[in-house]
Symmetry: C2
Subunit: 234 residues, 2 copies
DNA sequence: GCTCGGGTTTGCGCTGGATCAAAGTGTCGA
DNA sequence: TCGACACTTTGATCCAGCGCAAACCCGAGC
């Protein structure tokens, strides 16, 4: 691991306020893994024997139903922890994580968790904060799914992606990893057909630009208006 | 607080393995409150200045959308913590909690959290476990809402209530607090009309018995079959 | 015992989106 | 350069469940 990597890593919330030598000790206990696009980081129902920190790339957390339908629970960005079931007293992963692009992760053996959390409070605290934030976010999605129309849900999903991984370009804000209509459908509980129709309609209105596995939000604000209930049908 | 109360309380997961004198200290820092039916324990958006332990009764955690629709996030049973936003680094409650029946809660000032979690590991650990379990459960609901038909969702919701608060009677398993069609609709993202039709249909098939604010599941197993995908339409 | 109000049932028409089907179209490997 | 495949668009049809409306029923309080 290069020195540059290390300094970047040191800035992550998980390691905040940790002395350099402690950081070294923690990092030495982790293995760095390269995950190819579309490969799984860990599998639903699998033994939770590791927890991970995503260093580079984007991964999606996916739950598969008994009859094979998939639901994308969330996307993980660089710097975020994933597969932390173990830390929450679970023995098996409740979902799979799949690399959306080539990724680099740090993997710690799960049994190290209690020790790490105890020795380095920032580690525990920041994890629990993350979990708290995810719980709230997930609850918000329940509310969305329970009360909103498909159009609003898709708008919300895009806005969430924009906020999380948006990259400014001259055309607008680009979601900076390959994402298909199908993926968006799996985030919002609809079908790729409906997503396609929506994106086409939005494109005509100048709200977004999109292409094969690519979405750019041109006018976040108007999209936001759409996402919040009743927008005029002009 | 009576001696009986105390011994019951000592058995709760949160206090597991805590020495009696420690338990006393912790309890002395809490106030015991009586919440009348339909009264709020805490309010969405409100300052998270306390966290609570439900001692007796049942409370529902509710999120209200900007346009006034309500979604029931979960029901809280005796012995469970609620309003723990503070412990997860949030400064404001993301939802309201309303007493479904007359309740008794213990309330600790939020600022005590770090101290309590540090002094009594079981307190912290069990809380995080709870949060982890809730996160998973909430994610499971997202999957349900995204992939299942209304009938399956309602079936799942009832089964969840049965497992959580079911009380065996000679007719079947009774959900032991008043619950209206509207409540069930708000748990499953549908309307009270649809819930009413479903319950009537199920009653005819002998799966449940229900009345005003009351539901008894007669045949949990058949309901379970319904909840899991394709049940034969006999 | 009667009335009032909140909860429930039921009918009916309508529509948002799913489903089915088929025809583009951009991209990558050979 | 040329497929071939994976992703996308678009059309046509259908139906689960919503919205609206009205009647009903039960329990609480007078």
């Amino acid at each position: 691991m290069s020195r540059l990597d290390r300094s970047l890593i040191a800035g992550l919330p998980v390691f905040q306020g940790m002395a350099p030598e402690d950081l070294d000790r923690v990092l030495q206990q982790a293995r760095s893994l390269r995950i190819a696009k579309d490969q799984a980081v860990f599998e639903q129902e699998g033994e939770a024997h590791s927890f991970f920190l995503l260093l580079d790339g984007h991964a999606r957390v996916v739950k598969t139903t008994p009859d094979g339908q998939q639901v994308i629970v969330r996307y993980i960005s660089p710097g975020e922890l994933m597969g932390i079931a173990h830390a929450l007293g679970r023995s098996t992963y409740p979902a799979s994580a799949v690399a959306a692009v080539d990724c680099v992760v740090l993997a710690w053996p799960g049994h190290l968790w209690p020790e790490l959390a105890e020795s380095f409070p920032s580690f525990g605290t920041s994890t629990y904060k993350t979990v708290g934030a995810r719980l709230q976010e997930t609850q918000a999605r329940v509310v969305e799914l329970a009360t909103e129309q498909v159009e609003q849900r898709v708008a919300h999903a895009l806005l969430r992606l924009v906020k999380q991984t948006g990259k400014k370009t001259d055309e607008g804000i680009l979601i900076d990893f390959p994402i298909s209509r199908q993926d968006i459908a799996e985030m919002t509980g609809t079908t790729l057909h409906t997503v396609s129709r929506l994106l086409t309609a939005w494109e005509e209105k100048g709200l977004v630009k999109s292409g094969r596995q690519k979405v750019t939000v041109v006018e976040p604000h108007r999209l936001f208006v759409l996402a919040e209930g009743r927008a005029d049908k002009s």
